[in-house]
Every structure is written in C-alpha cells, then in structure tokens.
C-alpha cells in the first residue's frame, strides 16, 4: 500500500504543475487556482495518511520505496528511492500543510495577475521538488530536489520579469545557491568515492565503521555545511534572501520562509551522525549560527521595508536552527523549523494582505495606524509576531526557542585536546537574540498598526485569503504544546516522535534558565513599547530614510536618559548594519571578476590585433618578395641559375 502512496505523494503536485503549464492560456484563473490547490491538497491528505501508517506501524525503519535504478556503474550505484521515516515525516507534513494553506491564499492573492498559470506551475513544481528533496533516501536523488527548488525559486523571484531589478535579484539568488550546490556536489563526490553508493543509510553506516578517515569526514561535513549555508542564506551567503523579496508574497512565504531555506537545516539533521563525528565542523556551525542570528536581528531592527524585516528575521531564526544543529540538538532545530514555518508563513501572508490593501506600499513608516482599518489582519499579525518573539507559555515559538536554549546551555565542544568550548557564551548570544527579535518585531507592529494613521486602506481581504491566516494563527499559538521544557510538566511528545532512542530531558536544569528564556521577549516587548509604542514615542524615524532618527526634542531629563540609553546605540547599530561587510564582499568579488574578465578580453583583443597587424606586415613584406625574385629580368634569372649551380657544387665538393 505504501509503495503506491509514497510516489503518488510526489506525483500529484508534479502532475498539477504539468497540467497548469501545458494549459498556459486556456484555463481561467480560478480553474488554475483550484487545480494547483487540489494537487497540493491531495499530497497533504496522503502525507497525513502515511504519517498515521508510519506511527501505527513498526517504530524503526520507516517506509522504503525504490522506484528504479538510476546509475548502476562500476564504482557507483545510485537509484531513485524514497523513504518516509520520522524526520522526513515531519518535513513532509510541514511542506504539504503549509504549502496547501499558502496555495489557497495565493489563489486569492494572484487572481488578477496575467501570469497566474506560470506562477502556479512554478509553485506546484516547487512543492514537488521539495517533496523529492525531503523524501529522497539517496543523496543524489536529494540533489535533484535540491537543484529543483533552486530553479523554482529563481523562476518565482523573477516572476515579474518586466523590472530588470527582479530578474537580477533572481539571478543573484540562483548564483549564490548554485555555489552552495557545487560545494554540496563535491561533498557527495567525496562520499561516493569513499563508500561507492550514496544511499544515506549505507553512507552513515560506512562512515560509522571508519571507512572514511577523520580528515575525510571533516571535509565532507564542511562541504555539506557550505551547501546548507548557501541554501539557508547564512553568514557568507545571506545577501540573496532580502533581495528575494522581489517575488510575489506567497512565494516569499512558501519558499523563503517555510520550506526552501530550511532545506539546509533538514539536510544536516538527516546526516547528523556524519556531523556528530566532525567536531570542528559542529563548532563552526554553531558559531556561524550564532553570528547570523545576531547579525540578522540587528539588521532587521533598522529596516524600513516590511517584507525585508521579515526576510532578515527569517535569516536570524535560521541562525537559531543552525546554532541548535551545531550544538547537536537537531531535534530542537527541527521543532523550531516547524514552528517557524507556521508563524513566519503567517507573518508573510498577513504582510502581503496588508500591502495589497494599502495600495502596494511596503515602507512601514508610510503605513501607520492600520489597527482600525483592518482589525482581523492586525490580530493575525500580532499572533504571528508574538510567536516569533516567543512570548512565554502562550506561543509555540517560546517552546521551540526554549528547547534550543536549554540544548545550547548543556553542550560542550571538545575541539582540541585541552581546549573545550562550552555552550554558555552561545546561550548568552541566543538570549540577546531573543530580546532583539522581540524588539524589532514589535517595533514593526507598533509602527504599522498603532500610531497616527498613514495611508488609507482600501477594500477587504477576501474570505479565501482569510482561512489560511486563521489556521496558521492557531498553529503558531498552540502548535508548541507538544514539547514542554522539564520545569513545566515535562511533555516530550515531539522529541519522542522524532528520535525515540535518546531522551532529551535534562533533570538537573536550573529553574532560572527557563525564566530567563521567558523574560527576554517580555523585556524586548517593553522596550519596544517605550521606544515606539506609547503616544509620544522616543524614536521618531524619518519616513523613507531607514534608521535616520530625528534628534531628541528638548533636553528634559527622561528624554536625555532615553536618548543616551537607547537612541545613541540604535544609531550606532544602524550605521553598523549599513556596513554589511559580507554583502560588500560579495558585490566586490562580482565587480572584481567583471573587471578581470574585461581586462583579459582586452588583452585577448589586443593580442589578436597585434597578430593581425603582424600578419598584414608579413603579407606586405611578402608582397614585394616577387620584386626581389621575380622581377622579370632575364639576367637576374640566369644569375639565380648560376648561383644555384655554384651552391650545389660547393656543397657537394666541400662536404
């Protein structure tokens, strides 16, 4: 039974995509919407059925289906094979359910766009590719999904191709993810050379029994890490995600929040045994995750575009997941991935609705005071924001973040013989990140929804777009209960589901740890209220120029205090993030290669001209060669004959 359902799971969105592409002009917008939602809907239902079968069936193993042998050559055996075990079940559920909701929303959002057929074709193709990525039990088959999602993200970011900025953003996204893909490919090559086959099970088994030397393991893990970093827009490769906001909002929600960017996290979670044996790479992952977390939060703090704030917040939340992976608590990372998918999708969809209603205005300073105009959207946005900030007890975000914080606290990296890096400094950064997250998301909430009225809001959000928002709000608020920290009633449903073997409960966890985790978001909320929320806010940023703050009004005590405590560091922070060292580095290298290629082409052209010039030179010289030899004078010819004779005689007689 499962052998049929599993491939069907992937085939439905693929078939929907083909139908939509081939129909191109002939189907109406509504029909296209329904076909797409149907495709993804069927796969959602199938995934639920399969999950139930998996949970009720034998615990270990999971459903294994080999479709056909792909490459069977001496030295490599790779085939198209899907497995549904606990990790991929979680991902499949997230992808299909969130995907379905986003498709329903998009059916309403994109109804009047002429290119809707191309849009839904790419979206369903993306879901199919993501499912292939998640279900693949062969790393090479995973690579098909990996590049497939990259292609769909390129097509969707550059969806409105009239504006060259969109297409260049799409190309930039594809180039960066492609660099990561090449690194991942090199990792696969290394593993294939060492182990002969790319089945995940056999790779991990042969790595475990030492077929790969330690250095080999580190290099392979490093390659895979680089691939994941590029896909999830972490530190060196983060420039493409903010530009990716050029695509339609449902795309940003599905691809650049919920599913594609988390593919890197899923991959590392899938091969965590390999990473566990590569300690330095784990440490690197953790440090990079922490740095990205901090950098993402700070940059989001000074953004003025609503969707860019959410993009930077995605980068910072991914930083959390990488931090968790680095510290070995991959279950926490996956749990945070799930909850993040819910509330981030919610935030993006609501933002999309808000922007659509406010006449496509994306600058938060020009929106202002929409609380009264769209109460429903405000409620959804606040729900999402609180889940993102991780307000204690009431939101899912709190539980997943708490799980990560406790995991980070208990980790010890045995890097070199005597030098061990303990988890505490990373925990500190994570906590600061939580505070900053609350700060920037509530800044956005207060500026957009509270305060004096900005642009006039028109029209109503259609019912079709409303339903997904409601579902996502419920999920992001109550989705977290299935995994409680120990101090609260220790409920570990999720981690038990994921990995029944290793219990995650730390009995000796100090109580203040959970309290700190709960207080940080609240503190962030308070400070945000002080700075932006209350009627006479301290921070009055000039609309249009992000991060430029008007000087404090009068020298009165409280304002001077606030100014020195909050405004100065904020201004410093704004200046710092504008530096954007990695971004400049990447544009610098781009400019460098262009200059180099122009230089080399110039040299090549110069060479060719010089060659041509010399050729004409010799041609001219050869031109009057006949004058020298063939000048038509008989005596000259006779002289040549005599000369030839004498030369011959000389050579013969003398030699």
């Amino acid at each position: 039974m499962a052998e049929i359902l599993l491939p069907l799971l992937v085939l439905c969105p693929l078939a929907a995509s083909l139908v939509v592409f081939i129909s191109a002009g002939r189907m109406g917008a509504r029909a296209i919407g329904t076909v797409a939602c149907a495709g993804v809907g069927i796969s959602a239902v199938l995934s639920i059925i399969l999950s139930v079968m998996l949970l009720s069936g034998p615990v270990a193993g999971g459903l294994q289906v080999t479709l056909w042998p792909w490459m069977r050559v001496a030295g490599l055996s790779a085939d198209i094979a899907f497995t549904l075990d606990r990790i991929s079940m979680v991902m499949v559920l997230v992808v299909t359910i969130v995907g379905l909701l986003i498709h329903v929303y998009a059916a309403g959002y994109m109804r009047d766009d002429p290119g809707i057929a191309r849009f839904f074709g790419c979206m369903t193709l993306f879901v199919a590719a993501m499912l292939v990525l998640v279900l693949a039990s062969d790393l090479l088959c995973l690579f098909i999904g990996w590049e497939g999602v990259g292609l769909c993200s390129y097509l969707l970011i550059g969806f409105w191709y009239d504006d060259p900025a969109n297409t260049s953003a799409a190309r930039k996204a594809f180039y960066m993810t492609r660099m990561g893909d090449v690194a991942l490919l090199c990792g696969l090559l290394l593993l294939a050379c060492a182990t002969g086959s790319l089945r995940i099970g056999s790779v991990l088994a042969s790595v475990a029994d030492g077929r790969l030397p330690a250095s080999g393991v580190n290099v392979a893990a490093a390659f895979i890490l680089v691939g994941a970093l590029a896909k999830s827009a972490q530190i060196p490769f983060q420039a493409w995600l903010p530009d990716a906001m050029a695509g339609p909002t449902p795309t940003s929600a599905l691809i650049h929040a919920a599913t594609m960017v988390t593919a890197g996290v899923y991959l590392i979670a899938r091969v965590h045994d390999l990473f566990a044996m590569a300690a330095p790479v784990m440490a690197l992952t953790a440090v990079l995750g922490a740095l990205t977390l901090l950098m993402g939060a700070c940059t989001a703090l000074v953004q003025s575009d609503l969707k860019r704030i959410l993009a930077w917040s995605t980068i910072s939340q991914l930083g959390y997941m990488f931090l968790a992976l680095g510290c070995g608590v991959w279950q926490a990372a996956l749990f945070h991935l799930m909850t993040h998918a819910f509330f981030k999708a919610l935030l993006f969809l609501t933002a999309g609705a808000v922007i659509m209603r406010a006449g496509h205005e994306q600058d938060i300073f020009r929106l202002g005071g929409l609380r009264r105009a769209m109460p429903g959207l405000t409620a959804a946005f606040v729900a999402g924001a609180s889940a993102l900030a991780g307000l204690p007890l009431v939101t899912a975000g709190f539980y997943s973040k708490e799980m990560i914080l406790s995991g980070v606290w208990h980790v010890h990296f045995g890097l070199a013989r005597e030098w061990t890096l303990s988890g505490h400094p990373l925990w500190g950064i994570a906590l600061l990140g939580a505070f900053l997250t609350a700060l920037y998301i509530f800044r956005c909430v207060f500026i957009v929804f509270c305060g004096k009225a900005g642009t006039r809001a028109a029209g109503r959000t259609s019912r079709l777009m409303g339903i997904p928002l409601v579902c996502l709000s419920v999920l992001s608020l109550f989705g977290g209960v299935i995994e409680m920290p120990d101090t609260l009633p220790s409920l570990h449903l999720f981690s038990a589901l994921l990995d029944p073997g290793t219990p995650l409960s730390h009995a000796d966890e100090p109580v203040w740890l959970v309290l700190a985790g709960a207080l940080a978001p609240l503190a962030g909320l308070g400070v945000a209220w002080v700075l932006w929320g209350r009627p006479s806010p301290v921070m009055r940023e000039i609309p249009g120029q992000a991060g430029v703050i008007r000087p404090a009004r009068t020298g009165r005590g409280m304002d001077v205090l606030y100014d020195r405590v909050f405004v100065q560091p904020f201004r410093l922070l704004a200046w710092l993030t504008r530096l954007d060292i990695p971004g400049h580095a990447i544009t610098g290298t781009g400019r460098l290669t262009r200059a180099a290629s122009a230089g080399i082409l110039g040299v090549r052209a110069g060479l060719l001209d010089m060659l041509a010039m010399r050729a004409t030179g010799t041609a001219r010289w050869a031109g009057h060669l006949p004058g020298l030899f063939q000048n038509g004078r008989v005596r000259w010819y006779a002289a040549w004959i005599a000369g030839g004779l004498c030369a011959g005689l000389a050579m013969a007689v003398l030699s």
Partner: protein, 103 residues
Amino acid sequence: MLAFSFNDTLLVATVLFSIGLAGVLVRRNMVFMLMSLDIMLNAAALVFVGAGARWHDATGQVMFVLILALAAVETAVGLAIIVCLHARGRPTLDADTGNLLRG
C-alpha cells in the same frame, strides 16, 4: 703521344665556360647574350673533344658535331625571336626593358 692531357683541356673548357656565363650575366644586349651562350656551348663541346681524345673514342667527335648543330639552332631561333620582338614594338635590344611578365 698526346700533347695535351684531359685535365688541361678541361681547364681551358672551364675557363671558356665561365667567360660565356659571365657574358650572359653582364651584357644587356640580347645579341651579345646569344653570342656568349654560343661560347658556353662550345666550351661544353671542347670537353667532349678532350674526353674523346682521352678515351680514343669517336663519340666525342660525334657529340661535338651534334652540339654545333644545336648551337646553330639556338642562335637561329634566338635571332628570329629578336626580329619578331623588334617588329612587334620593342625596338631596343636591351634585355631588361619593357618587361611585361613579372611578379
């Protein structure tokens, strides 16, 4: 027995030959070139006569007569061509002027 050995005739013939060759190279007048051509042919004939004498063989003499005949043919055809050139608009006898065929 023989007053001159083969080498001496060879020496004279070579000198004669180089005189003829020099004549062809130096003189510009076509008639003189024909004359020096004749000298070269006679030098060759002299070698044959000397060789014939050395080998006491009549072939040398036969070849000499043959070469005389050839020289006569050369000169006759040469003069005929010079006359035609003169008739067809190339008055001077200079070998180097009015070259149409070159390059």
